[in-house]
């Protein structure tokens, strides 16, 4: 059974990534101590760093990487297009815009849940728009253009928020936040995002059979008795919950949702039901490794994780576009 082998490798990758996430320390900063050295000289501080900083960071990398991976696989299945992804479809940009509103116009201070709820609302609006504009097996070009348009709208609104920011300092903070980062998040962030990500991922998983049927085309799927309305609802709402909650905690981290299913398809085939759980694990492993590598490589200023995934993911996207042209 080749599926079992793939899951074994993915599970190992997540474990190794988690171990790296807990142990890798940023280099090149005079005050930054290696965690193991610190354990000898100042075990209390080392304990705080491990439990209050590294553990939430690791959990968020797993949850957010997983959410992005499974959402990418689900969107690719629903839109029957291997180039769909939360970032490219505008879901992340929509979530980021609404989270910025919640942050900088004060709702997040009065009511902590406002942040994930705003992110989810933004992602839901974007995914719904995309589905209306380019759903049901539209050509690749339409999908990408619709995603570009939705991202552009969300980007324009975010720029408006930047433009109207109460001070230059707030503007700089918005820019840095939107680059995407997992640094110095706490258990509160984990607790805020985890329920939405878990529920969203579960909704997407239950859509697996419907997505499998959909690979044969809508009419064939309906003839087989698949409830397409239900499948669409599960994927759109599940993606909105998972991506919205992720982005509201970490900022925009792109391309994980594109890369994870692509890497797994050669091993697991094209059935969405098989790809969905594997893409969760794959996305989690990718983000754990990306975060550990970014931390290890950071010169002076922090290398933002969203910048790292974009630097690797965007060329991958270009390659995927060429590959899909060749196949067509």
């Amino acid at each position: 059974m080749r599926g079992a082998g793939v899951y074994l490798v993915l599970g190992l990758a997540v474990l190794v990534g988690a171990a790296l996430s807990l142990t890798v320390t940023r280099s090149g900063l005079p005050l930054m101590h290696d965690l193991w050295d610190l354990w000898d000289t100042d075990p209390e501080s080392a304990g705080l760093i491990l439990w209050q900083l590294r553990v939430p960071r690791m959990l968020l990398a797993i949850l957010i990487g997983g959410a992005l991976g499974i959402s990418g696989a689900a969107l690719q299945g629903l839109l029957r297009n291997p180039l769909a992804e939360p970032g490219i479809t505008g879901a992340s940009a929509g979530a980021a815009f609404c989270a910025i509103l919640a942050f900088y116009f004060g709702f997040a201070d009065d009511f902590p849940l406002a942040l994930p709820l705003a992110g989810i609302a933004g992602a839901l609006i974007a995914v719904t728009l995309l589905y209306v504009a380019a759903g049901r097996g539209a050509p690749t070009l339409t999908l990408i253009l619709a995603g570009v348009a939705i991202s552009a709208i969300a980007g324009a609104l975010s720029s408006l928020a930047l433009n109207l920011a109460p001070s230059p300092y707030a503007a700089i903070e918005i820019v840095f936040w939107s680059l995407g980062s997992l640094t110095d998040r706490s258990m509160t962030h984990v607790l805020l995002a985890a329920p939405f990500i878990v529920v969203g991922a579960a909704m997407i998983l239950t859509a697996g059979r419907g997505l499998d049927a959909l690979t044969l085309g809508e009419e064939a799927a309906e003839a087989m008795g698949a409830h397409l309305t239900r499948t669409r609802f599960l994927v759109v709402v599940g993606t909105g919950l998972a991506v919205g909650a992720s982005v509201s905690v970490s900022g925009v981290i792109g391309f994980i949702g594109l890369v994870a299913p692509h890497l797994l398809r050669p091993f697991l085939g094209h059935r969405p039901a098989a790809l969905l759980p594997a893409s969760f694990l794959g996305g989690a492993a990718l983000l754990l490794f990306a975060d550990a590598i970014a931390r290890y490589l950071s010169p002076g200023p922090e290398l933002k994780i969203g910048v790292v995934t974009a630097l690797v993911g965007a060329p991958f996207f270009l390659w995927a576009v060429f590959a899909s042209r060749r196949d067509a």
Partner: protein, 275 residues
């Protein structure tokens, strides 16, 4: 949520005595802490504090380890007071407070009066209020002297204070309040600019100010620098005085240095005009 701090017993309790170990993770609190702290009290400042382009007091920071504003650097310092800004490193500040560390968030001062309030606020937290009073009376004295020197040669009444690329300083801004303290008329008042406004070069040319004061940043290459090189800006016949932007960025006591540079400039311009 001080669970872990309480378990390990290392998060210092909020004591009434002066803090012994202070860390700062914001440029403007760095500047004040460098001036106000007792020797050995300040254990870390932000990386920007070491950069002479960004900080007015980089020389004082030389021997103090720098941080990049992350919790992993701050926790092992066991600081009993952490100074932060209200706009920067928000997630780190949130986390440190959640863990029970004593974080004092200092809002950036809006104008000269506000900066005195902030100086007193930081000094009170450091347990050095007498230093604040000495610094503030010195600041007042130097600005008053500069103002008298300017008045003696006739203060400009239609000055514009430029932050190149950012626009003009309004009457209620840090730089605008300095002009006011020096008795210099600010053209921004006529145009109803309170904080700051973007000033297209076209409009600037039509404004016909009698003095340009330019807070100039010494970055390597920047869009701001390009603006300052524009012929309309450089070639206008209006006399111009430059001072390093870093002197008035935070509203630190280095405001007095800016005041003296502006006074020197006006006195020199008057001398050359009289000749």
């Amino acid at each position: 949520m001080t669970v872990w701090g309480a378990v390990f017993g290392i998060v210092p309790s909020l004591a009434a005595d002066a803090p012994r170990r202070v860390a700062s993770i914001n440029l403007c609190t760095d500047e004040l802490a460098l001036l106000l702290a007792k020797p050995g009290q300040l254990v870390s400042v932000s990386a920007l504090a070491h950069d002479p382009v960004e900080s007015a007091y980089s020389a004082l920071a030389r021997d103090i380890p720098e941080n990049r504003g992350t919790a992993e650097e701050i926790i092992p310092l066991r600081a009993d007071l952490i100074l932060a800004g209200t706009y920067t490193t928000r997630t780190t500040v949130g986390l440190l407070k959640e863990m029970g560390w004593n974080v004092l968030e200092i809002a950036p001062a809006a104008d000269l009066d506000g900066s005195k309030t902030v100086i007193r606020q930081v000094a009170a937290a450091l347990g050095t209020p007498e230093r604040a009073e000495a610094i503030i009376s010195e600041l007042d004295k130097r600005i008053a002297t500069a103002s008298r020197r300017i008045a003696a040669v006739g203060a400009p009444q239609k000055a514009v204070l430029f932050r190149p690329g950012e626009g003009i300083a309004g009457v209620a801004s840090m730089q605008g309040s300095l002009l006011e303290a020096l008795g210099i008329g600010n053209i921004a008042g006529i145009y109803g600019v309170r904080e700051w406004a973007e000033m297209p070069l076209e409009e600037f040319v039509q404004l016909k100010p009698d003095l340009i004061v330019s807070a100039t940043a010494a970055y390597g290459a920047s869009i701001h620098a390009e603006f300052a090189r524009h012929p309309a800006f450089v070639g206008s016949k209006v006399p111009r005085i430059d001072y390093p932007a870093v002197l008035t960025r935070c509203g630190s006591p280095s405001m007095a240095d800016a005041a003296e540079l502006i006074a020197d400039g006006i006195v020199a311009l008057h001398g050359s005009a009289a000749r």
